[in-house]
């Protein structure tokens, strides 16, 4: 295997690893509320979401071989920059998963690429107004818009069904919630798997094994679909717990209203070309459903922690991306990229082992929220 091919293989493997963490981190977006209201058993929920992400990935009609377009100058997007950006995205996804914080996978990737491009080509490579208009403002607007829709939906759902028997109401909203959560999963597969397909297509074009403008080969679509759905099935239980139990104590009508709001905002934003991060939309919806139901308990400290993480996502992933690029550049060539890849695997294993010390899984994901991601055992705080 020559150097170019090794570089291509490493970038493709890293892209699929990012796709996996993307699914893994974002299972919560679709399923956290369904799991906490008991509409679906935890294992069933992640399985349904995985299947729908898989199907959704195949529904992508057009895969654009662009990354961070309008944010980073396309001339600055080299394979090493893309690789370093992916490393930044993966490590930020793993850290926030460990801390149980829902943060945007797309922002992590964009942050990583921006950081790598900045250190590779200087400030000229990054379009400042693009960062504000395509990343920062949407991040502020998405939760507000989704919260508004979910808040109104929750208010109406309680108002309209106030006289309906508990049994019909519970069963009905649970069924509705499963439907709307499925819609969110499908949309996630379609929108997010497409991003990784675009990255792999870009790598293939740079390697010369794919013509510019050509559709990516079937194995690219299939492997991205498999990676995102495997990640989803693994279930980022730590993030699921924060969204389902930590933010707001959720009842079935709220769960339905918030998933409905998320689904509609995500579908509308991809139709009208105003890309909003699924994570920001879902978190906003859940908060909105807490505000829409009077006397619901909203844990504002958790919301604050989450908002802080969103603000830090871009610079933090950017810093990792920049370091990854610098490291690969210092060693040089394909060997540099391979060395950073080995380091990435080591860091990922460290996060995995750290998380195992205070595990959150399908068994304890719905335990009473006591202020920590990992539930307390026998009254002893279990870390984090």
């Amino acid at each position: 295997m020559d150097g170019d091919t090794l570089l291509l293989v490493t970038v493709v493997a890293t892209a699929l690893a990012f796709d996996f963490t993307n699914g893994f981190h974002d299972t919560a977006n679709a399923m956290a509320t369904s799991i906490s209201t008991g509409a679906l058993r935890p294992k069933v929920a992640v399985a349904v979401s995985a299947v729908l992400n898989f199907v959704g990935a195949f529904l992508s009609l057009s895969v654009a071989a662009t990354i961070a377009s309008g944010i980073v100058d396309s001339g600055a997007i080299t394979l090493t920059v893309v690789f370093a950006g992916l490393v930044g995205g993966i490590l930020w996804n793993l850290l926030t998963w460990y801390l149980g914080i829902p943060s945007s996978s797309s922002h992590a990737l964009i942050g990583g690429v921006v950081g790598a491009a900045l250190i590779a080509d200087g400030t000229g490579a990054v379009n400042g107004s693009g960062v504000v208009s395509k990343v920062i403002l949407p991040a502020l607007l998405a939760p507000v818009a989704a919260g508004l829709v979910a808040g109104l939906g929750t208010y109406l759902a309680y108002k309209i069904t106030s006289n309906v028997s508990q049994n019909v109401r519970d069963k009905g909203f649970k069924a509705g919630q499963i439907g709307s959560a499925s819609l969110v999963s499908l949309a996630h597969g379609t929108n997010d798997a497409q991003k990784t397909m675009g990255i792999i297509a870009l790598a293939l074009i740079a390697h010369g094994s794919l013509d510019e403008g050509a559709d990516p080969p079937f194995w690219v679509i299939a492997s991205c679909a498999v990676a995102i759905s495997l990640g989803t099935y693994m279930g980022g239980w730590r993030v699921i717990r924060t969204l389902g139990k930590g933010l707001v104590e959720i009842q079935t009508p709220q769960g339905f209203a918030s998933e409905g709001a998320s689904a509609s905002v995500i579908l509308a934003s991809s139709h009208f070309g105003y890309p909003l991060s699924t994570t920001h939309v879902v978190s906003g919806s859940i908060l909105g459903s807490g505000i829409g139901r009077r006397l619901a308990d909203v844990h504002w400290s958790v919301a604050g922690r989450m908002a802080t993480a969103w603000l830090v996502t871009l610079p933090a992933a950017g810093l990792v991306g920049a370091l990854a690029w610098k490291g690969a550049d210092l060693i040089g060539g394909t060997a540099g990229v391979a060395a950073v890849f080995v380091l990435l695997v080591a860091c990922a294993s460290a996060f995995y082992l750290a998380a195992r010390k205070a595990p959150v899984n399908s068994e304890n994901v719905n335990d009473e929220w006591t202020g920590s991601v990992a539930p307390q055992r026998d009254g002893v705080p279990a870390g984090v």
Partner: protein, 81 residues
């Protein structure tokens, strides 16, 4: 302002999701009211305890069909891009 924020697109997203999100949630809730009427399980009011209202069933069917149509439109909108 236009350089920073596409107000027109944002406005459309908000309008569409208010109608499609909160609106359909409300329609679904109405469907549950109809279903509850039909099953005679309203907690209070003129119909309390009286079962088998065909009107309730009709309302419920209409509402749930409307929600299903809304979902289909939403999926079509996303895939069409």
């Amino acid at each position: 302002m236009d350089e920073w924020i596409d107000l027109a697109a944002l406005g459309r997203v908000l309008l569409a999701s208010l109608v499609g999100g909160a609106g359909l949630v409300a329609v679904f809730s109405l469907g549950l009211v109809g279903l509850s009427e039909h099953e005679g399980r309203m907690r209070s009011g003129t119909h309390a305890g009286r079962g088998g209202s065909p009107l309730g069933l009709a309302v419920a069917s209409g509402c749930f069909l409307c929600v299903a149509a809304g979902v289909a439109v939403g999926l079509w909108a996303m895939l069409k891009g």
